[in-house]
Symmetry: C2
Subunit: 83 residues, 2 copies
């Protein structure tokens, strides 16, 4: 068994579980007033780059966590920029 | 040149640059009212596990990003729990 992979999936679970409720709240309420578009663009870019890094390394915990977070945060950024 | 590593460092830069100002604000003002201790504990655990994962894989972009974020967010969690 690959122990590092188990740690990676646990890390992924923590990140997603702690990030999703915040993001989901914004998606549901549509309230993006508290978000800085510039900072958030950096966050979204970060998730995209981490996803790319994960794909290049073939590390599934990185790929899963960051593609999920990228989609949700990207959706919020689009919402924010449309206002 | 390891292209994935370059992507990893860029990802690291984005994550740290977007996360630090938020965290620094809380560290500086000491205002942790808006933070859910339970959710934040999960965030801190996530950073610790990602750091461990990075160390096991020998991936410096992961190690650097997550140890920095772990220290800052851990400090905030301690502050929050002491109130």
């Amino acid at each position: 068994m690959d122990f590092a992979l188990v740690i990676g999936y646990l890390a992924s679970l923590c990140s997603v579980t702690s990030f999703i409720p915040q993001v989901w709240k914004v998606v549901k309420t549509g309230d993006t007033a508290a978000i800085s578009a510039r900072m958030y663009a950096l966050t979204v870019t970060g998730f995209a780059l981490w996803s790319a890094f994960g794909m290049m390394r073939g590390e599934w915990p990185i790929i899963l966590t960051n593609t999920i977070c990228f989609c949700l945060s990207g959706f919020i950024l689009l919402k924010k920029l449309r206002r």
